[in-house]
């Protein structure tokens, strides 16, 4: 737009109109996003103590965070979570989308809504609900195990917590991702299917050879969302905390850690630094996914 503006008067008018159109967004964007971000960046360069007040410490908060075992173990946990949960979720979502699209279901709309409903349940409510289902003493699974005389499953112990949380997140988002994939499937031109069937491809072959390859862009989008979602994991562990007690430590995920640093430990400055590092890591991860997608597209 700057170039346009330099060109001469007639365009100037248009340029002004353009600025006016984007202004509402830019103002809110600057006030609600850029300004807090800048303020957090500023905070992260200081250290504020109960005794001695606030002093400028430069990048010390960052170097400290990079050596902070709690922060790093939270990152490891979340990476593991990502590696386990995201593939399962994407496979499930793809499977459901293909089933829906196959046209072989009796009441496709009912199924579509049924798959999608968990996404409509707020994450907090979902976590509360699962907190009850996972209950170690009187949750339904434990009671069933008790009635059957088998060992009760322990969902909320430190060894099983990660899969338990992964299960909640999968339940919440598989349906949402399915809808994205299903929408993508609907855009595939029908003549491709016709051609395939003329060539003698059955439904399974059509799914594998036609639908899946054409789903690739949508899958890329889902993967991108999942990277960001996984690394920002917060609601579920936060809400499960009362039921799981000390198993969910304040640094269980990096996001939870930043929150607890700010609001429990009163270390706002360090929390700002941790948040920035986390944001930076998400940025890198997102970029990697994008590059990966581009490389693959080029190779095909």
């Amino acid at each position: 737009m700057a170039i346009l503006a330099r060109r001469g008067r007639p365009e100037n008018k248009h340029a002004a109109a353009g600025y006016m159109f984007v202004a509402p967004f830019m103002i809110v964007f600057a006030a609600m996003f850029i300004a807090p971000l800048a303020y957090a960046a500023y905070l992260s360069l200081y250290s504020s103590r109960l005794v001695g007040g606030t002093v400028f410490v430069g990048l010390q908060n960052y170097t400290q965070a990079l050596q902070d075992r709690q922060f790093l173990s939270g990152l490891e946990r979340i990476a593991l979570f990502f590696l386990i949960q995201v593939p399962i979720m994407i496979v499930l979502a793809t499977f459901f989308a293909l089933v829906l699209d196959s046209g072989r279901l009796r009441a496709p709309r009912v199924f579509r809504i049924a798959f999608f409903v968990p996404y409509a349940v707020p994450a907090v409510v979902a976590a509360l609900m699962w907190g009850y289902l996972y209950g170690a003493k009187f949750g339904p699974f434990v009671q069933i195990a008790h009635d059957l005389g088998t060992a009760p499953p322990q969902f909320l112990t430190s060894g099983h917590l990660l899969p338990s949380v992964a299960n909640i997140v999968t339940w919440e988002f598989a349906g949402y991702n399915m809808i994205i994939l299903y929408a993508a499937l609907l855009t595939i031109p029908p003549d491709l299917y016709e051609a395939a069937s003329i060539d003698g491809a059955g439904p399974i072959k059509t799914a594998l050879r036609i639908k899946l390859p054409l789903l690739r862009p949508a899958l890329g989008v889902i993967l991108l969302f999942s990277v960001i979602g996984a690394f920002q994991l917060f609601n579920e562990p936060q809400v499960l905390q009362p039921a799981a007690g000390s198993v969910i430590t304040p640094a269980w995920t990096p996001n939870l850690y930043a929150y607890n640093l700010a609001f429990t430990d009163q270390r706002l400055n360090y929390a700002a630094a941790v948040s920035f590092l986390l944001g930076f890591i998400i940025l890198i991860a997102t970029y990697l996914v994008l590059i990966l997608g581009r490389l693959r597209r080029r190779s095909t």
């Binding site: 103590r49 109960l50 005794v51 003493k137 112990t157 009362p242 007690g245 430590t249 607890n260 429990t264």
Partner: protein, 458 residues
């Protein structure tokens, strides 16, 4: 983090028979004790009755943050006495939720209430940052002798009074008479007997635990430590003594460790669905808990009515009679108030006026810190059928007198609470040695305190 969660909203009330001679005078006190209204609230020095009276008779708006349900009735008493003052009651959340908002407002320099409910354990956290004004100049010191001594120790330093005690949680033991009878267990008077009874119970029925030591409740950990004589924190200026792994803390840890190991004591998180169910169906044979618990239990484990009884907290030495405190709140005045006289008057009136105190005890079931209410027959005479007609209030009123004084909290209770859950609670869940957990905890808190600039000694 459940510290004081139930404590503050669902406390039972009981008082004892000490004649509240000063109580009649109490109502009059407020009018008599004023703060000099000359300077800013922080430099107010002396009592000036006429200035106080003048301030209380001019139109004033106060904001009061509290999570006590239906406190409007007590506030109405205040507004009736001082018709020019209007109090805007706001529920800004319970415990931590409120403190988070309070802190934000305090940091922002605007938006904090005049009067605010704060738990005992958090009073030093907010006084250290100079956010609570000294109520001494407004006459708070004259109320001292009307409150149970240990509660005054929690809210004051010398003649500086930073909050007025609202409700308390002296610890006793609720136990299931049905469970005790079925397995032939007698009521333990000492911790030694408690351990023996627990082992016996658990052997006879492995699904029963003698009690539950919550893995997420610093109020419980410190309440028990308090009774054991532990004094984990002492603050002098910016010098802080941290002694979380001292001998008395170790004594407590080493007592519970084997019981947790054997399964005789469970370590479930408290105020959680499973925990409520366990209290209802007799999975926990006892709950060594605070004076707010009896009424709380009546509503949250209603189906177990008639099966519970109350006894004093088991003792470390036979024949001893000491207790600790778990939960309870205060009313404090923030340094953002523009009407310190009226705000101080409200904080004092709510908790010191006999009618208001009695109302809190009988309507909100807060266990009172005021001697007069603790002696009122209408309070101590109650015989709830939930406890087989036992005079529960009377017993806890006696216990309140045995709570050890001079227990101190750290100036950063959020961190201490959260590290309790993580380190001590973590060891409880994993059945790891609790005394080793104390060492880790000590190191962690020491490290935090140093980071915050305190000169830390042990």
């Amino acid at each position: 983090m459940n510290t004081g969660q139930p404590g503050s909203s669902a406390a039972p009330s009981r008082r004892q028979f000490l004649a509240g001679g000063s109580a009649v005078a109490a109502a009059g006190l407020l009018a008599a004790c004023g703060g000099s209204s000359g300077g800013t609230p922080k430099v107010a020095k002396s009592v000036n009755p006429s200035a106080m009276a003048r301030a209380l008779s001019k139109p004033t708006q106060l904001t009061f943050w509290t999570w006590v349900p239906n406190i409007a009735s007590e506030v109405a008493l205040f507004e009736k006495k001082y018709p020019k003052i209007k109090v805007n009651v706001v529920n800004a959340g319970q415990g931590l939720a409120e403190y988070t908002k309070l802190r934000t407002a305090l940091k922002a320099g605007t938006g904090a209430p005049d009067v605010v409910q704060i738990e005992y354990s958090y009073v030093p956290t907010f006084t250290f940052t100079n956010n609570l004004i000294d109520l001494g100049p407004y006459g708070a010191n004259d109320l001292k002798d009307d409150f149970v001594p240990w509660t005054w120790g929690q809210v004051s330093k010398g003649d500086k009074v930073y909050a007025i005690p609202q409700d308390t949680g002296p610890i006793g033991m609720l136990y299931r008479k049905d469970v005790f009878d079925r397995y032939g267990v007698t009521v333990p008077a000492t911790w030694e007997e408690f351990a023996a009874a627990g082992t016996k119970l658990h052997q006879k029925n492995p699904s029963i635990s003698m009690t539950n030591f919550a893995n997420n409740d610093a109020g419980q950990t410190f309440g028990y430590a308090w009774q054991a004589g532990a004094r984990p924190f002492a603050l002098k200026g910016t010098g802080l003594t941290v002694d979380i792994n001292g001998p008395d803390m170790q004594k407590m840890a080493n007592f519970w460790s084997p019981l947790v190991d054997s399964g005789a004591v469970s370590t479930d998180p408290d105020f959680d669905t499973d925990w409520y169910a366990a209290l209802t169906n007799g999975t926990y044979a006892t709950w060594v808990t605070a004076a707010w618990a009896p009424v709380f239990l009546q509503s949250s484990a209603a189906k177990s009515a008639g099966k519970w009884r109350v006894a004093p907290m088991p003792q470390w030495a036979s024949g001893a009679d000491v207790s600790g405190n778990w939960g309870g709140s205060t009313s404090a005045v923030t340094n953002q108030t523009k009407n310190p006289e009226a705000a101080a008057a409200l904080a004092m009136f709510l908790n010191h006026d006999p009618a208001s105190s009695m109302l809190m005890a009988s309507k909100q079931f807060l266990f009172p810190p005021l001697k007069q209410t603790l002696a009122d027959p209408a309070f101590v005479g109650l015989k709830p059928s939930f406890y087989g007609g036992q005079k529960v209030n009377a017993l806890f009123a006696e216990i309140s007198k045995t709570v050890l004084t001079n227990f101190q909290w750290s100036p950063f209770n959020d961190y201490v609470t959260s590290s309790n859950n993580q380190i001590f609670g973590g060891a409880l869940i994993a059945k790891k040695p609790l005394s080793a957990a104390l060492d880790t905890w000590q190191a962690s808190v020491t490290n935090y305190a140093k980071q915050q600039g305190f000169a830390v000694t042990k």
